[in-house]
Subunit: 531 residues, 2 copies
């Protein structure tokens, strides 16, 4: 998840100022609209120490009507608060109908602290996450709009900020020993954060993960996310936000473009009698996808034939032995391949299977659902193709079709594909908890390279069957697929089941990277192999 | 929960036959309607061994089109099934769109067996329940109609049936060693069943608990529940079922009367393109409330003055000492009082508080929400009134208003009060997991006794203030309140937070029963008191 974020995103001063004024006004109007609709909203700011959450909250509130606003700063629980169930102090901080509550840290801080410093057991951790999910669901069912931000910087940047703050006697006090502890244990906290986000990212209380290296960028991104989500939830997004953003913010390099789900823009929550309207309406998912994972991939990476031959031989030999370990240690393995048409999924899969015992794996080529598969839940196709213990299931395309082709082509409704992120994370977590080893690959090429390969396929007789009209049609929707892919990589790359983006402009490089990733992952789980 | 069921319900042969024919025809039509709407349905039969689940399923299927039907008999997992995640074998049994799947035992059998015979740890148990809830939610989100039955008999009846089966060489094989084990460990299984039901009773996959001592009664109840739920979900309940049932089945002594939620009768799930319609629509809650708890209360119970004085003195002395234990052992205590107007809640509460340290308790008289409380989630009123550790919170009326007055008077919509059962169970589970001791009382009187007390209040000057016009209005809705109460007692009496029905026709009897229950419960939790 977090590793998919582009921490180098920036916004220049001029653009920043231009947007800020407009956004503050929009937010002011939205606060009135919230009040009139009697809808409460909770906005949670979490993130690494040093990401200036307080400054961001200050900026948000500056123009707002203080009567309709509450800011809660969450510290460790006071003694009297420990005398109540742990959510008690947050129950009391829920905003009243029509009110906007901003949380500088929240219930997430508490469970993260418990997990990282007190090392709570996994069972306790799961139970806390369950409590959070039910807490947020109950409030959303009652009409509350919930948005959650994680402001992300890397370890070095955090250390740099601490040094800067510490150097000035006027700000040195801001760096606490807890903050220094966090920097020292950055990696452990990082893993806990990713797991926490994966467990609590729901359609009715979604997370927005934002790169916060550049404060101006982060702040405008926060404003944009909040205003867009409020407008959609309040049914005020008459002009699709996409257009406005294209004009305004998109030009500056950050894409917040989102297709609006009409079903959700209908203001279903308007309340007349103080009772909220039905059900936890899914919130228009905020632009987690300011990641630009794909844009950042270095497609110039290559591998020479000689190095390729050498590496391939060694990795395949290791994989052969690891296949035997999979069998004896009775672990199921799931390898997922997604990627652009002609990116080389088939070739990569072939290099994996070549030296494996043919009884130990199955390759599933996933096309559009048909027959029985079409008459079931979209996961059924994959439930029934799961590998048993000791076996390797290789998926050439997968359940991610739900958030790729089905999303882009409109085969799934917006609420369906938005729900799918949480469903897929749940599904993969169940696999991993059973002991399954899961690796997921996105094979990435440039549109130019794709064209070259398409043309080659057209011209080489024995490759022509591989190219269909559909491939050409998909190609026309490159930007939509890129956006869907970015969001998919961000929302579903979990510690339990991470994505690997494979730069595939050079086939040799791609194949070796896939093999090396699989081998490393299997060695981590099954023990190292010596040749 | 299960203790609230009236196991003496019967249906005579004549009525049984009359209904059966009609219901089988209705079900046949509904199967066609399911098929045309492409909605899958899963009906789960769980219950004690010996409740003839197979016979019931046989009866259900007799007239149905076998092509649209699947019957799954769930045994312990086979070896190959243990090589997959535990839900795998159930994933594969999900019905295709338009199909009806009947489960003779299910995923619930597996987790119950693990819990009772293999003594799985609580964390594992919780995680299994979580898996089930997400499994059912994902399917419901996809349009699946899910109904779950627990067929209930008591331990003696089960033993009687085993003896009868064993006596006949033709049926003796039906009684397995697993069955006998269950009878021997009935109480432990019972506790696990109640906890399992409380954790998995959701609006989109609700449980129906049915008394099954009389097979005819149970079978017709199953038929009625299924046909009503399917009609509602498919939008075919144009004539409210209530009327038809009044004519048909209600006359025979079992009340299935249900007010239909118009929002849910609108067939929101009709599908054109094979994609299911949005969101996990709440299923019209099935008639769990064939309990008649109230009807069965023996209101003739009395206590003479002398015995009352004696018992009161002793119980209050114990309670005084227990109050001190509550403080030293730092446990929060929550006592909930609900009941008919003029049933004596105030008097009972007074007998509890009389000898308690005045610093140790707070009595909350709960009227209609106002001010801040009205502008928040309905639980907020209670979140903020929770007792801290070492304190006793006494609620004269409570969060149960959501499923009583708010339901009957229409202050809450059907989807809101139906959702509230699960919300309340979740809320109380969180309290109990924190260490809170929860007792809940329903003070029960007859309408005649209420009238007598109303008139007395009218005539005795210093009591007149207690009687309002609203009391008279509520009284006119006695049957609706009785139905709401029955369902509340059934759905929210959990092992963690049980209800006690207090026969209150005689005030002395009622007060002593309340005190005795509180004292016993506190002694169980805090240790016995010797005077």
């Amino acid at each position: 998840m977090l590793d998919q974020l582009d921490l180098d995103r920036t916004l220049d001063k001029h653009d920043y100022k231009r947007h800020l004024g407009e956004l503050q006004l929009r937010l002011y109007d939205l606060q009135q609209a919230l009040f009139e609709a009697r809808r409460p909203a909770m906005i949670v700011f979490e993130g690494w120490a040093g990401t200036s959450k307080v400054g961001t909250i200050g900026l948000l509130t500056r123009r707002l009507d203080p009567r309709g606003l509450r800011v809660h700063s969450v510290t460790p629980p006071r003694t009297y608060e420990t005398m109540y169930p742990w959510l008690y102090r947050f129950w009391l901080k829920t905003p009243s109908y029509g009110q906007l509550a901003l949380f500088d840290r929240s219930w997430y801080r508490q469970v993260l602290a418990e997990r990282t410093t007190e090392k709570t057991a996994t069972a306790e951790w799961r139970s806390r996450c369950e409590d959070i999910v039910s807490f947020e669901r109950q409030l959303a069912d009652d009409g509350t709009i919930i948005l959650k931000f994680w402001l992300h910087i890397d370890r070095k940047e955090q250390a740099r900020r601490f040094r800067k703050l510490a150097a000035d006697p006027l700000t040195a006090w801001q760096v606490t020993s807890e903050d220094r502890w966090q920097n020292k244990h950055y990696n452990a906290v990082y893993a806990a954060v990713e797991d926490l986000i994966a467990r609590t990212d729901t359609p009715y209380a979604p997370w927005s993960l934002l790169p916060a290296t550049d404060k101006r960028f982060a702040r405008i991104a926060v404003f944009e996310t909040i205003t867009t989500a409020l407008e959609t939830q309040l049914g005020l997004a008459a002009t699709p936000r996409a257009d406005r953003q294209d004009e305004a913010f998109d030009a500056s390099g950050a894409s917040f473009r989102r297709s609006l789900a009409p079903a959700q823009a209908s203001g279903a929550h308007a309340t007349a009698n103080g009772h909220a309207a039905p059900g936890a309406t899914a919130i228009e998912m905020p632009p987690m996808a300011v990641s630009g994972v794909l844009r950042r991939a270095d497609l110039s990476q290559k591998l020479e034939q000689k190095a390729y031959d050498h590496e391939l031989t060694e990795l395949q030999a290791k994989l052969h032995l690891l296949g035997f370990q999979v069998y004896t240690q009775k672990r199921p393995v799931v390898l997922v391949f997604e990627g652009w048409d002609a990116a080389g999924k088939g070739g990569a899969i072939k290099r994996i299977t070549e030296k494996l015992d043919p009884r130990s794996y199955v390759v599933h080529a996933i096309a559009a659902p048909a027959g029985d598969d079409k008459a079931h839940h979209y996961l059924y196709r994959f439930w029934r193709r799961l590998p048993p213990q000791g076996n390797i299931g290789i998926f050439d395309r997968s359940w991610y079709g739900r958030v790729l082709v089905e999303r882009v082509e409109g085969f799934a409704r917006a609420d369906e594909w938005q729900r799918a992120f949480a469903e897929i994370n749940e599904f993969e977590r169940q696999l991993v908890e059973f002991g399954t080893i899961v690796c997921k690959f996105w094979l990435h090429i440039s549109p130019e390279e794709q064209l070259r390969r398409f043309e080659e396929r057209q011209n080489v007789r024995y490759k022509a069957w591989k190219l269909t009209d559909e491939d050409w049609r998909n190609r026309e929707k490159w930007p939509q697929y890129a956006e869907a892919t970015d969001e998919m990589l961000l929302r579903t790359s979990t510690p339990a089941a991470p994505w690997t983006v494979v730069e595939s402009e050079d086939k040799r490089f791609a194949r070796v990277k896939v093999l090396r990733t699989v081998v490393r992952r299997l060695e981590e789980e099954l023990g190292p192999i010596k040749l």
